[in-house]
């Protein structure tokens, strides 16, 4: 292969509840079509996150118990993760991962659980209610529509410097009221989409891979990679 990218799967052994592993499989699938060898490793409890070592990071969602454990451990990686993000490192964060990048979320027993505040959003909770169902959003910059399945109790409000991943066309999105879904900050993409998100939205997978390639291979001619045609999958 012409190019190589290395992915950090944050807490891959703890946060893996909704087929999130599919996002990595799909990244590898399109990476191969782009002539890129994508390797991955899990970075979990008590292991350091070296911001120089990774070209992409993936951060999924899990069960309440596991997420509480992660919320404590991730404070020790906070500075390195913020360095990676501020330096333009590409990241995809889903559901619990999305919430933990923000300032806090509300746990199953009503307790406030601290995130790392790398992004400025916060997540409150709904009383005995979840947003469950198919969802369609439109990304304002590219005009692309993203399709997914949402299943979340948390209601997230975006903060300073963040823009939504898309505007809700149908479904609930971040909080059911402001028609936003997910977040983008620098090269970090956040969403509540399961499905998994990249399986239904190959264009987003391509965007993340291209961002990572451009960041690592500054002088490379990536026109062939940019020309990759993504076939519809849903």
């Amino acid at each position: 292969m012409q190019y190589q990218l290395h992915l950090a799967h944050l807490y891959g052994d703890l946060l893996n509840t909704y087929g999130d592993i599919g996002n990595i499989l799909v990244l590898k699938y399109y990476a191969q079509q782009m002539g890129v060898k994508l390797t991955d490793e899990v970075v979990s409890l008590d292991q350091p996150f070296d911001p120089k070592k990774y070209d992409i990071a993936f951060f999924g969602g899990g069960q309440d118990f596991e997420q509480v454990i992660v919320s404590k451990d991730i404070q020790s990686k906070k500075d390195d993760l913020i360095t990676y993000i501020e330096d333009g490192g590409p990241m995809l964060a889903i559901c619990g991962g999305y919430q933990l990048l923000g300032s806090y979320y509300i746990g199953a027993h009503g307790e406030k659980i601290k995130g790392i505040h790398a992004l400025d959003h916060r997540t409150e909770s709904q009383d005995n209610h979840r947003f469950i169902g198919d969802i369609v959003i439109k990304n304002e910059e590219t005009g692309q529509e993203y399709h997914g399945f949402e299943n979340h109790n948390g209601i997230t409000y975006l903060g300073h410097g963040e823009r939504p991943l898309g505007k809700v066309i149908s479904g609930n999105g971040n909080n059911g009221s402001d028609r936003t879904e997910g977040a983008i900050y620098k090269n970090v993409y956040c969403s509540y989409f399961h499905g998994p998100i990249l399986a239904r939205n190959g264009e987003l997978a391509k965007r993340i891979l291209l961002t990572a390639l451009k960041r690592k291979y500054l002088q490379a001619d990536l026109s062939a990679q940019e020309a990759l045609v993504i076939k519809p999958t849903y």
């Binding site: 052994d13 893996n16 509840t17 087929g19 069960q63 454990i69 399945f149 999958t233 849903y234």
Partner: protein, 449 residues
């Protein structure tokens, strides 16, 4: 018996007689009717029975069937509920419709939905609880593994004298201190070797100190001889153990439990656990080990309904229900060991009973299938596009791959697949639709048990 109970029982029995005679009906409706007339009717109906409650995410149906089978070596009167009727209505219905037998204590072996364990235990006091495993199920309907276990425990707490017969390889069943006598069963068939579970595995945190568990032996998912590298939490001592797998094909397994060789006429490592659970329950009720082993080795077609072999023209079709991540993955791991040529069809629906979120198909390791020697692969069902992309990502090549949304086309395509044997993996409503079609065309007898 109170007048209310007696009216409820009569009404339930009459409705069963009517439904059975004229509508080929089941047992849930009579149970529902009787419960509406007297919510406590189950207490009256079950009073002459020793009750065994079998629960867990996967393996309930087969464990129940195998347990009944093994217990028959000693007991002549065993009541059980038909597969799927595992909530309070179905269970009440099973008692209502039971044949009246001789006097004296009788046995009831009940497949019980996890959330229905505390409901059932309000009315009956089981003699034993059998806990198979707790895995992630369809997340849009079920809770997390810990909340599911809490529901089961709420029921067990109402029967503190009952013996728990639990899968000792599942860390969750060792996570809470309970007053009940507890017997564990598990696998002990490999040499100890330091290892960890693969990343995409659920339930790996030590419940005592929240470190990630390590293993000395591991069978699949998070099941095995686990231990915590940070504290003393470890797999408990096993009373019943599977010590050797002598031979394993996708159609059968031969293995040794406590010195007894068993040949189980259904494939899959997960089914060895079900046989082991049945052996443990039978031993608890005093069945001789040799008699248990003999009963479990019997080739009984009716017991193995979840994995069905259907003749479709010239093809032999093995139809397997898939419904959650661990179950799907175990089926894939079983199929990949088949040395004979086969083709594959995967039918995905996403109706309520299947789970409306299809994400779980990504947790099955389709990548492990030997695509190079599978000459034809078909994606079908209402959500054929989702499963088609899953299979493409897993590495199926386009020249041997087809997509057929329509079920008639699926059957036609299967009839022309290049191998004699075809595996069809299907979600719950896809199985129902397929069986209905096969019944209409006369390939099988109607209905789903």
């Amino acid at each position: 018996m109170s007048l209310r109970s007696s009216i409820a029982i009569t009404a339930g029995k009459s409705s069963y007689w009517f439904l059975h005679k004229f509508r080929h009906g089941g047992t849930s409706f009579p149970g529902k009717l009787a419960l509406a007339l007297d919510p406590k009717v189950l207490r009256t109906l079950a009073k002459d029975y020793d009750i065994v409650v079998i629960t867990g995410t996967n393996g309930k149906t087969l464990t129940t069937a195998l347990t009944v089978k093994a217990l028959k070596a000693k007991y002549t009167q065993i009541l059980t509920n038909p597969s799927g009727s595992n909530m309070i209505q179905g269970i009440t219905g099973a008692f209502l419709t039971a044949q009246k037998g001789a006097n004296g204590k009788k046995l009831a072996v009940l497949e019980t939905d996890e959330a229905n364990v505390p409901i059932i235990c309000q009315y009956v006091t089981p003699k034993a609880f059998v806990l198979t495993n707790i895995f992630r199920d369809q997340m849009d309907r079920y809770g997390e593994i810990y909340t599911t276990y809490d529901k089961i425990i709420a029921g067990i707490k109402m029967a503190p004298e009952a013996t728990i017969i639990a899968n000792g390889d599942a860390p969750i069943f060792n996570s809470k201190k309970l007053p009940n006598p507890t017997i564990y069963y598990g696998f002990n068939n490999q040499p100890d070797q330091e290892q960890m579970a693969p990343a995409n595995t659920d339930g790996l945190l030590c419940p005592k100190c929240q470190h990630i568990l390590h293993y000395k032996q591991r069978s699949y998912s998070n099941l095995g001889k686990y231990y915590c590298p940070n504290c003393s939490f470890a797999r408990p001592e096993l009373t019943y153990q599977m010590t050797q797998i002598v031979d394993q094909t996708p159609a059968s397994s031969t293995f040794v439990i406590n010195g007894q060789e068993v040949t189980l006429h259904i494939g899959g490592t997960y089914n060895i656990y079900n046989a082991l659970a049945a052996f443990s329950v039978a031993s608890f009720f005093g069945v001789e080990p040799q008699a248990s082993a003999q009963m479990l080795s019997d080739k009984d077609e009716k017991v193995f309904g979840r994995q069905e072999v259907i003749r479709l023209g010239e093809k032999e079709v093995t139809l397997i229900l898939v419904k959650n991540p661990v179950g799907l993955d175990q089926v894939l791991q079983m199929i990949k060991t088949d040395q004979e040529p086969f083709s594959l069809a995967v039918l995905l629906n996403a109706n309520y009973a299947d789970g409306i979120d299809t994400s779980w198909i990504w947790d099955g390791r389709f990548e492990d299938l030997p695509f190079a020697r599978i000459p034809a692969v078909l994606a079908g069902g209402e959500r054929y596009k989702d499963i088609a992309f899953r299979l493409r990502v897993a590495g199926v090549s386009e020249d041997r791959f087809a997509e057929r949304p329509d079920l008639d086309d699926v059957l036609e395509y299967i009839k022309h697949m290049p191998t004699d044997h075809v595996y069809v993996l299907a979600t719950y409503t896809a199985v129902l639709q397929l069986r209905e079609k096969l019944a209409n065309e006369g390939y099988i007898k109607g209905g789903m048990d």
